[in-house]
Subunit: 105 residues, 2 copies
């Protein structure tokens, strides 16, 4: 992923899905697409095992971008539905990336 030089922000979302889809896949794809249109969005990586355990990291320019996305009405409604239907539990950490490096074969 192409990210700028630090500092920037990472929102770490670790979660356990409930059984069954219940509209999750479609809504999650729509939310990723909508997030990508927001000012300050830098990128997202998401991994989920068959067990339902998942980690999504989204990257943002600054705290203001994160706060604006959090206040988005469609996103707020999706989070409400997430708590009602899609997740057994989740944790969110909002963090400031201080340094970064990568390896490419």
């Amino acid at each position: 992923m192409e990210l700028p030089e630090p500092p920037y922000y990472a929102v770490i979302f670790t979660s356990q899905r409930t059984d069954g889809d219940n509209g999750y896949a479609e809504r999650a794809a729509a939310m990723s697409k909508l997030a990508a249109q927001q000012p300050g969005y830098l990128g997202e990586l998401s991994v989920r095992e068959d067990s339902g355990a998942g980690i999504t990291v989204s990257y943002w320019k600054d705290e203001e971008s994160i706060a604006r996305w959090r206040a988005n009405l469609e996103h707020t409604e999706a989070r409400r539905q997430g708590r009602a239907e899609w997740y057994v539990d989740y944790e969110v950490q909002v963090s400031r990336v201080e340094r970064a490096y990568d390896f490419r074969r």
Copy 2:
């Protein structure tokens, strides 16, 4: 996961595995166990899809704990082997967690 009140640190490791195990599973388990014994270690979450895409987040008390673990000789050797054999590519971000919240059903 039981984490303290922020601030603390998160090391975000996103990676793509090469094909085949090549000793990876055993060494990765040993490294997780060794990391958990280090001063300042707070916890770790790791998720990998069948595609080989993975995200591991490890949590640390402070930057000093991260630097000490990075300098550990067994860990340094495991990282070298990772670049030689186990990973197509990876990215690491060292970040300071500013705030956190969770949901539990």
